[in-house]
């Protein structure tokens, strides 16, 4: 699903990623950890083509990001869904419109959109809010809208950047359930998180840690520290 070798990325003189080698098989479930400013978001932004590959080779979901032209990136993004750390939802539109958006741009028929969006909203306890404007939502509700929009298209690869930062324990667990469900049906999932509770829940899962731009492998030890 993802094959990366010797990826290096810098913002001007600020080095964000340094010689990262990373491989992720189809159907894998990976946690991406690391302190604030370690480069997690930068890493994910490269994976879905929001930042260019400056140095190294990156291959995601069968697309070679070194050569993928701007005009074809939407094909990559139809296979790779992202939950952004800052949500990136349309605050002046309804919850329904936001979640329906990725289906709409794929030209999917209206009645199918309706059905799939309703189902996803229900599973995230957002069905009451379907017709609310997103700017009227609480922080946690907005975060769930971002997750709903990412999973509604049943992507091959899901990148979630800190998807539980504004959620209480119960909802965080609920969200992990949903991720696990998608995982069971074959979606590869990478979650960047600081939340130990949700990691502990997935004992044995693969964990990669970014630190000052370099990557280290590991796995969740049941009930313990990383």
């Amino acid at each position: 699903m993802i094959t990366i070798s010797k990826l290096t990325y810098s913002f001007g003189r600020q080095l964000a990623l340094k010689d990262v080698n990373f491989c992720m098989k189809q159907g894998e479930f990976v946690f991406l950890c690391g302190p604030s400013g370690a480069g997690k978001t930068t890493f994910m932004r490269i994976l879905h083509g929001a930042l260019p590959v400056q140095r190294g080779k990156v291959d995601v979901a069968g697309y070679d990001l070194n050569t993928l032209p701007e005009g074809r990136k939407h094909l990559l993004r139809r296979d790779v869904s992202v939950v952004f750390q800052d949500f990136k939802i349309l605050t002046n539109q309804t919850v329904f419109a936001n979640v329906a958006l990725p289906l709409k741009v794929r030209g999917i028929a209206r009645h199918i959109i309706e059905k799939r969006v309703r189902a996803v909203l229900r599973s995230l306890h957002l069905d009451q809010k379907a017709l609310s404007l997103c700017e009227e939502l609480s922080g946690g509700e907005q975060q769930r809208v971002a997750v709903a929009r990412a999973v509604v298209v049943k992507p091959k690869l899901l990148l979630a950047d800190e998807p539980t930062g504004n959620l209480d324990h119960e909802l965080s667990m609920r969200m992990m359930d949903i991720f696990q469900q998608f995982h069971k049906f074959g979606t590869s999932i990478m979650i960047a998180t600081h939340n130990r509770e949700i990691m502990e829940r997935m004992a044995g899962a693969r964990v990669v840690t970014l630190h000052d731009g370099t990557m280290h492998e590991g796995c969740v030890e049941p009930g313990g520290d990383l």
Partner: protein, 290 residues
Amino acid sequence: MNVFFQLLGQGIRDLFRAPWSLCMTIAAITLVSFLGGAFLMLVHNLDLQIGARQGNVQFQVFWDAQVKPEEVRDVWAGLSAMEGVVNVRTFTPDQALGVLAESFQKSVDLEWMKGRSPLPPTALVECELPAEDGKKWAAAMVERLQSLPRVEKVTFNPLQVDLLTSWVGLTRMAFWPVTGFLLVVVALVVGNTIKLALLARREELEILRFVGASRAYIQFPLLVGGAFQGILGAGLALGLLKLLHNGIEEMFNVPPLWMNISFIPPMYSLAIVAILAAVGVLSSLVALRN
């Protein structure tokens, strides 16, 4: 196809999200294309005049100042029946005096001279010059007019045609620079609106890209918006131009011009709309590129 119309509607709806900005733009485009249209109308009418007068020549006939009105009246009636004559305008001594008085703009009162005008009766005879041997024919015409009763003098003046032609040439020369300038202004204005709209929606467009919208899906509504502004502005400008035309249609239909102003032909109107739509689309494209 469904998506096509959906995006079409989207492009227009998006414009109305910033109605103020839209109004200002439409107003600017309308003003500019109105100016352009008025200029085009001028050129068109000069063209028509040229076309009507091309190859024509005017003979000026002066009668003896002492001739009786009744005597000339019969001759005048016969003038237009002469071979090659296209148009005849005549001035009695009093009419000539009236033109003189008008030229003083009423600051000199010539009323008291009425009935004893010192000016001679005059006629302007416009003839179509035959394609060949024009000069010879004109000389013969002068002779024929000279031989009319009590005519004192006949002159003819092909110069007028040359003057008009050269003026039209000048306008033609100015045409492309002026049109180009106006189009650049329209492009800037439309581009500016689209750019502002893009700025306001930068985040929204980024989100669209991130959820997998193709480039066409994102850009098409913006191009539609540009075209719409161009077309709306052009339409309004044509409406205003028609109003102007109604106002001035008869204005120059007075001595010594006798010009009936024509509206620009439908093809030109269509061209204006098409060009402005194209400029709208192009400037949207440029705004998108940056």
